[in-house]
Symmetry: C2
Subunit: 203 residues, 2 copies
């Protein structure tokens, strides 16, 4: 099997960190997005929506979408569990994963895509007003997450899960999107230091 | 248990159709979004992100997020399976569910939220240029889905799944967002007729 990805993009990193936590090695093939390699006929055959990452199995089966790829590996390699071990845990972790995705990861991504000069040819049209509105939403998302982290060590509870991975990569990508983290978000900062200290964060 | 929802909003309908397919009856409590009831202190305690639907279990456990709620019921009531029965099926269905969500459901929702006068006080700021860009994306998403449906009866394969539910509700919500479906998308139209004919579509 191999994973088609773009090393610099945030979604592929979610899969790399997930696999690093599980100790799984996979072959990676780079797709240079700034050179529009994701729009090539060859890559479009793998994913008509022209997005990375894409998992290609040895029998040719294609699995696109970060969380679908993660779930595939979670089922094949359940230890350590990153998506929960009981029905309630799985539902709650999926809840937090999606809340982080929609309230933090996406606003930061939109802020970057709609305001950063590097995205001028890739995000058409760039809508600066929408980028700015998402800068505000990212701040609200960070404040919400800080509040959640008052009560517990990790995003979804007492153990590290896929929700922490989505949040870590959102918070790191914040720098590229030029969004400051307010000093008063001390729970978020402590958590960020904690998860950044794990070897997987280097993936 | 009960589900806090807004009858007119598309995300709660995803849960209602999912439960109708499984034949599960749940008590619903309405949260009037146009009257800002989702911003009340009482609702904010259930979901600090102020979004519907929210599943409240009898022991007080809260599960927010449409797909997390669906997965909870899928595990408790696996028949009929709407999220797959094997590892590969579950990954592929999740892939399609997310692709429909990001490439069709979200663009249609953004088009509505940023262009419709009814959303003026709820979507701040309304960014008309972003709404228009999403009208274009919704067309691209419909064209992609039409192409997918050339080869099979349902979005993710030969059986009806959660990916069909997300797509059905996106396509129906298209009318509220004032997006036309192009006549040439015959596979999409045939599929839409097929899934609209199921009793669950009335939920």
């Amino acid at each position: 099997m191999k994973i088609h990805e773009e090393k610099r993009a945030p979604n592929p990193r979610r899969v790399r960190v997930f696999l690093a936590e599980k100790g799984i090695d996979v072959e990676y093939q780079q797709v240079n997005i700034l050179d529009s390699e994701h729009k090539s006929a060859e890559f479009t055959r793998l994913n008509p929506l022209q997005k990375v990452p894409v998992l290609e199995l040895d029998d040719g089966t294609i699995i696109c979408e970060t969380v679908a790829i993660c779930r595939y590996f979670e089922e094949l390699h359940p230890d350590p569990a990153l998506m929960g071990t009981t029905t309630i845990e799985r539902a709650r972790i999926e809840m937090f994963q999606r809340q982080v995705e929609f309230s933090l990861f996406q606003p930061i991504a939109h802020c970057f895509r709609h305001l950063h000069p590097a995205m001028e040819k890739l995000e058409v049209p760039q809508v600066a007003e929408w980028g700015k509105a998402n800068g505000e939403r990212a701040l609200a998302g960070m404040s919400w997450l800080d509040d959640q982290l008052k009560a517990r060590q990790f995003v979804a509870g007492d153990t590290y899960t896929i929700a922490d991975i989505t949040a870590l990569i959102a918070i790191d990508f914040r720098k590229v999107a030029r969004i400051e983290m307010p000093d008063e978000l001390t729970h978020l900062k402590d958590w960020h230091e904690r998860v950044s200290g794990r070897p997987s964060s280097q993936a």
